[in-house]
């Protein structure tokens, strides 16, 4: 680990001023940053600690949630559990109790891929870590890699569970920077790798995430986060599904679905969502067909074709579970 200089920002202005310098990085919970420093994935000259900023609010309002970027995963989960089960579940199935006590929501969105080549203790051919060095995973171990939206430059997936749930709920990220404040939907926050997998989000280096807004709606209660993994806990998702539904007597009126573990960003299933409208939750065949509609564009790699099948089955399961939760309301 390279030596770096450290300071705690007293306020937002100071933090923003500090990150105008390109050699300065932000640290929040540190559960990603400290690892990157150890592995040489990040090599900042200066580290600005933003934990002193008043960005840790968790506000549940009638029009929706406002979650501060510095709110901790473990603190947010119980507050949102009743009205937004998909969010609480995505938080509580992630990482471990200790990590959730440390990890901030903003940091969670900004975590980077768990691609084993990227995470190696030495530099391997990886365009994300060393642009132009190639992608060892492309024709290497692809079991945990993407089935959607990848490029020859990078086939990695994004590991956040929370981001997938947020994407399903059409949440937005609030960003401040020298050019003022802006709002970006979570689905648009992430970039697919294309030719340059080093740029993963639309967040500029001189900007900070201050909060996340989640709109309320009839669908948030009938929601569910299903994480598929081999170890019963403390493991990233092989595939995950966030599902939120509104329905009328069991007939879907509105469906929102996002997948995790399949692409460099949470993957919304637009076609499935459209196809589900008007379908009865009891009609398993129709549900299956609707789910399949989004998978025509799946492009599995040599070692992960099973994820195409798995993701569809998980989606169907999540839909059914989410649907069962809404029944009482209608």
């Amino acid at each position: 680990m390279k030596a770096f200089a450290y300071a705690k920002a007293p306020d937002l202005a100071a933090a923003l001023a500090a990150i105008e310098d390109p050699g300065t990085s932000v640290i929040a919970g540190g559960t990603e940053m400290v690892n990157w420093l150890k592995e040489g994935i990040a090599t900042p000259e200066r580290l600005v600690d933003i934990n002193g900023l008043p960005l840790d609010g968790i506000d549940a309002r009638p029009e929706g949630l406002r979650l501060g970027a510095l709110a901790r995963m473990s603190d947010a989960a119980p507050v949102v559990a009743a009205e937004y089960p998909v969010l609480a579940e995505s938080l509580l199935c992630a990482a471990s109790p200790q990590l959730r006590n440390m990890a901030s929501l903003g940091g969670n969105l900004l975590q980077r891929t768990r691609c084993p080549y990227f995470r190696a203790e030495v530099l391997l051919p990886c365009n994300k870590r060393a642009p132009g060095s190639g992608c060892a995973a492309r024709h290497g171990e692809t079991r945990t890699q993407a089935i959607f939206g990848w490029s020859d430059a990078c086939v990695a997936t994004h590991p956040s569970d929370f981001a997938v749930a947020l994407a399903a709920l059409d949440a937005t990220v609030i960003i401040v920077g020298p050019r003022g404040e802006r709002t970006v939907p979570v689905t648009g926050f992430y970039r697919l790798p294309g030719d340059d997998p080093t740029v993963e989000t639309v967040l500029a280096p001189d900007e900070l995430v201050t909060a996340i807004d989640v709109p309320a709606g009839p669908h948030t209660r009938a929601s569910h986060y299903l994480k598929v993994r081999e170890r019963a806990s403390y493991e990233f998702a092989m595939v995950a599904v966030a599902a939120a539904l509104a329905h009328d007597g069991g007939v879907v009126t509105d469906a929102r679905l996002a997948l995790g573990g399949v692409a460099a960003r949470p993957w919304r299933l637009d076609r499935t969502e459209a196809a589900l409208r008007g379908v009865s939750l009891d009609d398993t065949e129709a549900l299956r067909a609707a789910v399949a509609a989004s998978f025509a564009e799946a492009r599995p790699l040599a070692g992960n074709a099973f994820k195409v099948k798995l993701a569809q089955r998980a989606t169907l399961r999540a839909l059914t579970t989410a649907g069962s939760r809404g029944m009482v309301a209608s």
Binding site: M1, Y234, A296, P300, K309
Partner: protein, 713 residues
């Protein structure tokens, strides 16, 4: 509840529970220098150049050692060395992760940074040799436990006579021991006296290797290791880092502390090699075996032949007129593999007990019955009598505790909601390794009894076992017994491996305590021993004894046995398996401390669960490296994975094995579990998984298939 189980609480428990127990890296040393290794990034080639300039200039860095300036070391061979290649002795790179330089600095942070700044370039880099690419050959002698090949009877004739034959190939993946404590060495020299605090399963092996490397008499080397944070085999032998730390301490003239990083743990102290095993079983109509063939091949390094003796258990498990076993190796680009809990039978019994299950289905016979029918009267390959063979008792007892009798045989016949339920079982066996050890027991006039043995405590609860043995032999209160251990200045013991410590060290303590008792009894006077000592004007009296297994057991086939039954729940849509309960009954000699023995078996079963369901270290074929060198990429079980485990023992004192009647238990629990789980998965799903681990993709059966495109871009 557990607390109700009898047995002495761990005497070292308080130290471990308060953080007071010192592991190697906890050793306080004044003026210690921190060392960090630079591992090779290629799997095969030659070091063309090492640029150390930036590292040498970095703040706090005291020295950088490479093959050009590293002292030349002498070898003693393996074992006690884990591999024959010594570190930093030449410019050849034989495996990825091999140390190519070592940085010494004032602080840990500075050493680690220094190591990052060393730049090595390589020449003659060739394509790594992967398992399956090369030829399988008969292993050269050396790192082999047992005989790699053996044959009795005529297998071809047996198969020709058989009415049912099952042949299948089973594979197990590369695995890493991954103890929670990374290996660590703290070395310091005082003149030509070397003291090493080491995380080792064998202090005396470490002493031997260091004495040889630096050309010293053994008594110039002291190795200290009271506690070790798990080893499971990877600390059984002596690996390069130990030699490097000692060499660095000599070069710098300061104490050196070298703690391996978690990533380095994947390339520094061996691993369990993958195996490919082919099993052929033939039976007559009654399910009696007519022929057994079990061949296994495993990858080893290019420089040592480590033969994983996977066919070991097949030699004595079942009666058959014809048995043919063989182990071959294949030379690949990797570090030399090493035994890992449970070696040999831990791998071989997955294949044998899976094949027995397949045979039971082929014969439409209950798998327990099939095993009972093939119970041998004598060792089927050697003809020797068994010292004890309570396998049928284990099978019947465990089956009953589990509630096996109501099991419908058909696959997919049990359901609970959306989940498929399966029950599976396997027989369990482990070879018995018996190794000599010495111990000293001293009774003091102040009423304390001191037991002294060089052995290290790895978690098996040996201090409690030795306390019990000494207390029982001398008739004193266990609370008055203190065990001193983990130091080559104490009486010589064997390593804590091969499940041998209770037998070896325990028997030595029993012998020493018996001798001491005789001496005490010979004293004049009556009353309690301390009183007699005082009356005789003595502060203390001691006795030292050595136990040599050669004294007994000659001509006997000595093993441990058990039976395991598991229930799995399979989510057929998502390919997920969980194991809510399992029942296992073992016969493993006399159980000296039921409390800690039970813990060992539970731990072993969890290991078997990891083998069955989670653990796999992928050796990336293009790069020739273990791909995920961390504990988020190499998955071992967590608390949520482990359901209810019911462990029981059958009373089976075996005085052919040791005078105590005790045998080894440390590895037995990890045997058979993966087969029982795979068999239960078959019972639940109808899918026979012959390749471990049982990952999601192996179970995604075509219940329904959405119209997905199979074309790849």
């Amino acid at each position: 509840m557990i607390a109700a189980i009898g047995g002495l609480r761990r005497p070292d428990g308080a130290a471990k529970l308060t953080g007071a127990a010192d592991y190697a890296a906890d050793t306080p040393v004044d003026g210690v220098t921190h060392a960090a290794l630079v591992p090779a990034t290629v799997a095969t080639g030659r070091i063309a150049h090492i640029d150390t300039a930036a590292a040498v200039r970095a703040p706090g860095v005291l020295a950088v050692l490479t093959h050009t300036d590293m002292p030349r070391l002498k070898t003693i061979g393996s074992p006690p060395l884990g591999q024959s290649v010594l570190p930093l002795q030449d410019d050849t790179v034989r495996y990825e992760g091999q140390p190519v330089a070592m940085v010494l600095a004032e602080t840990f942070e500075q050493a680690r940074r220094g190591a990052e700044l060393v730049r090595a370039t390589y020449a003659d880099v060739a394509v790594p040799r992967a398992f399956g690419d090369g030829e399988s050959v008969t292993p050269r002698p050396g790192l082999i436990s047992g005989n790699p090949a053996g044959r009795v009877g005529d297998v071809e004739a047996g198969l020709a006579a058989a009415t049912t034959v099952v042949t299948a190939t089973y594979t197990t993946p590369n695995r890493h021991h991954s103890p929670m404590e990374p290996s660590a060495t703290v070395a310091s020299w005082h003149g030509d006296q070397l003291t090493v605090h080491e995380s080792t399963q064998w202090v005396f092996g470490t002493q031997m290797a260091l004495a040889a490397a630096f050309d010293l008499p053994a008594d110039h080397v002291r190795v200290v290791c009271p506690f070790i944070g798990g080893g499971f085999g990877c600390k059984g032998f002596v690996w390069p880092h130990t030699l490097l730390a000692a060499a660095a301490a000599r070069v710098t003239g300061r104490p050196v502390k070298l703690v391996l990083t978690r990533a380095q743990m994947f390339t520094s102290c061996g691993h369990q090699p993958a195996t490919t095993q082919t099993l052929t079983l033939g039976t007559d109509d009654d399910g009696r075996l007519t022929a057994v063939r079990h061949h296994s091949v495993n990858p080893t390094s290019t420089f040592d032949d480590y033969a994983e003796n996977a066919t070991g258990g097949t030699r004595w498990m079942y009666a058959s007129p014809a048995i043919d076993v063989a182990v071959l190796v294949e030379h690949t680009s990797r570090q030399t593999p090493t035994p890992m809990r449970a070696p040999a039978e831990g791998l071989g019994m997955f294949a044998l007990e899976s094949a027995m299950d397949e045979l039971a289905y082929a014969l439409r016979m209950d798998p327990v019955e099939l095993r009972l029918r093939n119970e041998p009267a004598v060792d089927p390959m050697t003809g020797q009598p068994f010292s004890s063979r309570p396998l049928p008792d284990c099978l019947r007892a465990a089956a009953q505790r589990f509630g096996w009798s109501g099991r419908p045989a058909e696959p997919r016949s049990m359901r609970d909601g959306d989940e498929l339920v399966g029950w599976g079982m396997a027989s369990v066996t482990m070879d018995t390794f018996r190794l000599p050890s010495s111990a000293r027991v001293r009774l003091q006039a102040d009423g304390r009894t001191i037991v002294e043995a060089g052995t290290q405590e790895i978690g098996t609860g040996l201090p409690g076992v030795l306390t019990t043995i000494a207390a029982q032999t001398l008739g004193v209160d266990p609370g008055s017994v203190e065990v001193h251990h983990g130091d080559t200045d104490l009486p010589e013991t064997s390593g804590t491996f091969g499940s041998s410590a209770t037998m070896g060290v325990g028997s030595a303590v029993a012998a020493a305590a018996t001798e001491l008792r005789d001496k005490l009894d010979a004293l004049a006077g009556t009353g309690a021993y301390p009183r007699r000592l005082a009356d005789a004007g003595l502060d203390s009296l001691d006795a030292e004894a050595r136990w040599d297994p050669a004294e007994r057991g000659e001509g006997r086939s000595i093993h441990t046995y058990g039976a395991i039954f598991v229930e799995v729940r399979v989510d057929p849509d998502l390919g997920l398996v969980r194991m809510p309960r399992c029942t296992a009954t073992y016969a493993a000699g006399r159980i000296i401390n039921p409390l800690t023995a039970r813990s060992q078996m539970i731990g072993g079963i969890a290991w078997g669960y990891g083998q069955a369901m989670l653990e796999e270290s992928i050796l990336e074929p293009q790069l020739g490296r273990f791909l995920s060198k961390n504990m988020a990429g190499y998955l071992v079980p967590v608390c949520a994975d482990i359901g209810d485990i019911d462990v029981s023992f059958i009373e089976d004192p075996d005085t052919d094995a040791s005078p105590l009647g005790a045998k080894g238990i440390g590895e037995l629990g990890a045997v058979g579990v993966s087969a029982a789980i795979a068999n239960a998965v078959f019972h639940a799903t109808g899918i026979r998984v012959r390749d471990l681990p049982i990952s999601i993709e192996r179970l995604l059966n075509p219940v329904w298939d959405a119209p997905t495109p199979t074309t790849r871009p």
